[in-house]
């Protein structure tokens, strides 16, 4: 006789989804506040520090600001311009948000819980909505590609030249940077031997060598590419307020705009998650978290805290970079993707593949210890070689120096003569 009640696995998944979405939405709201604070502090201002508990004079350093911001933007008029494609216009933010949220199904947000002893539930319980997913990395990539459709749809449906340009830029940029992103990732997948993100984390925890140290070139390539994928400065050309008004969300207002903005922050959170999980050891920290799969409740919480603080650190780095570097020009962006990041990514991939192929022979020849050091030092050699090569042969893009043989008036004269 089958029970009508949902199985414990389903309930566990629902609980995790609830926690994750609640956490992510709160985090996105507060990250907006952090972003505004960082922006203010970097510009020697104080930033939002007034909104506290409503109807009281308690300020709490402005921690009530996200609530006020959210209420304000929700209560804004949700205006639909007459010239838009109504169906696509309404669908675009939903596509984007759904894709950005669904990515987190395959992203582990901690290690494992200690055995709970609930019948029907596999022990230990992993911090992962879809624990059995063998193609976690592919899922993340496929959905982040779908997120591009949201941006593109928004730009297209707006029927506005700035929106359209933003959408076009976004598609070109994301297509270009998915390749270095994938190359950076392939090195990790080769080294860990799995597409599961939790297995990749565990592999780093077991050896104690984070992939950022084992594959520095892959780390840099992945880091740069994920800035571009999250459309953060210095690669925020799809929005580029100074050039494109608001880019693909020029025509959006009210809650639809909110969905776009939240998705943007979720992209940044996703990028931070991926960077930490694949290159910075996930929940692992030497001497603090241990490395096995058996944990106590405290251990599980410590691992969760370590992962969260690493992610927060990466996000702070994202925000600091925003105020440190000016935006790239589009041709420079493309040059960087195709002429610098792609070759560097390939170099990293070849290095990692070679090392992984010959690791058994190496261990046999010189012993496990020295073999580990060689496997660590060779990628660093490749890293410095690639770095200097990229510096020496920098594709400087188009030449901007003025043409001296023709003054502006000469060109006018020529035009008149023709």
């Amino acid at each position: 006789m089958t029970s009508l009640l949902p199985s414990p696995t389903t309930i566990a998944a629902l609980v995790k989804i609830g926690l994750l979405i609640g956490g992510l939405m709160t985090a996105a709201a507060y990250l907006v506040l952090v972003e505004r604070w960082m922006a203010a502090w970097v510009q020697d201002r104080k930033g939002p520090n007034r909104v506290g508990i409503p109807l009281t004079k308690i300020r709490l350093f402005g921690l009530g600001q996200p609530l006020a911001d959210g209420l304000k933007i929700i209560l804004n008029e949700d205006f639909t311009p007459r010239h838009v494609d109504k169906v696509l216009y309404a669908a675009a933010p939903l596509v984007l948000l759904a894709a950005s949220l669904a990515i987190f199904a395959a992203i582990p947000f901690g290690s494992v819980l200690p055995p709970l002893g609930i019948p029907g539930l596999p022990d230990p319980v992993p911090f992962l909505v879809a624990p059995g997913l063998d193609v976690g990395v592919l899922w993340v990539f496929a959905l982040s590609s779908i997120a591009v459709y949201g941006v593109l749809l928004g730009g297209w449906a707006s029927n506005n030249k700035y929106g359209f340009l933003g959408g076009l830029r976004s598609s070109a940029q994301l297509v270009a940077y998915e390749i270095p992103l994938g190359l950076g990732l392939l090195g990790v997948v080769l080294a860990a031997g799995s597409l599961k993100l939790d297995v990749i984390m565990n592999a780093q925890a077991e050896t104690g060598v984070w992939y950022a140290f084992a594959q520095p070139l892959g780390f840099i390539v992945f880091l740069v590419a994920s800035f571009a994928e999250a459309a953060r400065l210095p690669f925020d050309l799809p929005e580029a307020e100074q050039e494109l008004v608001g880019g693909y969300h020029t025509e959006y207002s009210g809650i639809k705009l909110l969905l776009f903005l939240v998705s943007e922050f979720l992209h940044m959170v996703t990028a931070a998650f991926l960077i930490v999980i694949m290159f910075l050891g996930g929940w692992h920290l030497w001497g603090v978290t241990g490395s096995g799969q058996e944990v106590t409740w405290i251990g599980a919480l410590v691992r969760f805290a370590v992962l969260s603080s690493k992610i927060f650190g990466v996000i702070l780095f994202f925000m600091l970079v925003r105020w440190s570097w000016p935006r790239f020009r589009f041709d420079q962006l493309m040059n960087l993707a195709w002429k610098v990041m792609l070759p560097l990514g390939l170099a990293n991939l070849v290095t990692v593949a070679t090392i992984e192929e010959f690791r058994p022979q190496l261990v046999e020849a010189v012993g496990a210890g020295p073999a580990g050091w060689i496997a660590l030092l060779v990628p660093w050699g490749v890293f410095f070689a690639g770095w200097i090569a990229a510096g020496l042969f920098t594709p400087s893009g188009t030449d901007n120096t003025p043409i001296r043989t023709h003054g502006p008036l000469d060109i006018e004269h020529e035009l008149v003569e023709v």
Binding site: D44, K46, L320, G391
Partner: protein
């Protein structure tokens, strides 16, 4: 102008050196600048609680006042020079015969519409007897438009309020009080 004109000096960017082409030194330099500003003292003035400091009250152009002379009478002689000089036409004077022997006219009514005023200071420049002056009061607010039309009594009261903190400018600038 031709590009070959000798009056034009062409400046060239220096070609990037290796350190600059390696990206990272410049990147670290940028991050260091940002990080320094992150912790540096803030310039924000938390306005209602904290008053902004007026650099030099003598040249600050805030709310107007009508000065009094030594006997407490309004200094104004109703010559209309300020009203004429005013580009915003916000000064309205009704002149009448003076009860005092030292001048012919005095203002029976003197109104300034502070909402029309652009605080250019032309009235202050025009006044031959230093009767109208701009103080350093900067938070001028009101609940209605009528309230923002300052009459003679109000302008004189602004003088009474600010005369200790800001003595008459002509004296401070070396002229006769």
């Amino acid at each position: 102008m031709q590009a070959t004109d000798p009056a034009i000096t062409w400046l060239e960017d220096k070609p990037l050196g290796l350190a600059e082409r390696l990206y990272l030194p410049l990147f670290v330099q940028g991050l260091a600048t940002t990080a320094r500003h992150l912790v540096s003292p803030k310039v924000t003035v938390s306005f209602p609680e904290q008053r902004p400091t007026v650099g030099n009250p003598l040249i600050y152009r805030g709310v107007h006042r009508l000065n009094r002379d030594d006997e407490g009478r309004v200094k104004c002689v109703a010559c209309f020079l300020c009203a004429t000089a005013c580009p915003a036409h916000c000064i309205d004077i009704v002149a009448t015969e003076s009860p005092w022997p030292d001048r012919e006219k005095y203002p029976e009514a003197f109104q300034i519409d502070e909402l029309r005023c652009i605080f250019c200071g032309m009235c202050e420049e025009a006044c031959p007897v230093d009767a109208i002056e701009l103080t350093s009061l900067l938070d001028l607010t009101g609940k209605s438009r009528e309230e923002m039309i300052f009459d003679k009594e109000k302008l004189l009261s602004v003088y009474d309020m600010t005369k200790d903190a800001e003595p008459m400018k002509s004296a401070a600038l070396g002229g006769a009080p």
